[in-house]
């Protein structure tokens, strides 16, 4: 999905993990996805470059849909749909 489409989506949950380095954002995502239901959308905010690669791999293994990433000033917004 394109950045404008991602940013226009309804977000059911946002995890702000910008204060942590790897593996913080991944663990934060794993914890928060347990709190939403199948089909809901979660946004993970991370200032860690590695999260951009980590989350899509983790999501596909766990049966969630990776929707895309938007680069902001100094951090990333990573979008997932719970499977």
């Amino acid at each position: 999905m394109e950045a404008n489409e991602l940013k226009a989506m309804n977000i059911d949950s946002t995890v702000d993990a910008r204060g942590t380095a790897c593996p913080g954002p991944l663990l934060a995502a794993k914890k928060e996805i347990a709190n939403i239901t199948s089909g809901q959308v979660m946004e993970v905010l991370s200032a860690d470059e590695a999260t951009k690669r980590d989350i899509p791999k983790w999501a596909s293994k766990k049966g969630h849909e990776y929707l895309g990433v938007v680069e902001e000033d100094g951090y990333f917004r990573i979008y997932l749909k719970k499977g």
Binding site: G19, A21, C22, P23, G24, L26, L27, K30
Partner: protein, 134 residues
Amino acid sequence: MTMALFTGSVDKLCCAGVILSGAAADDMDVDIFVLLMGAHAFKKENVGDKGTMAELAHKEEEYRASLERLNVKPWMEFFKEAKEMTNVKIHICGLAGKIWGGEKLEDFNELADDICGIGEYITSAQEADVHLFI
């Protein structure tokens, strides 16, 4: 996953904690066998100990300052969090425990689940998909 945790050094324990976090995010079952020097770090009286580094000891100040700046938790916190998230069992090697004056489970920190022998470690390593020695 099976991990043989030989090290008692804070740098390697931090690394083990990060790997363990990845396994926890993946819902893996993990058995950690705490061997020789590791058992020293797991002794109850050493909880919160600043510890020493196994490598680049001359850069310790830089290393510790970076961990603080990056908000990296002390190694035990990684282990605690992983135990909350997935099935992690921490086994203390009986010989290692004795070397550091630990005879019973109560002599070790709250992360330790039991004291075991090397046969259990070998069996676990044989059965695991991923086996690490740190």
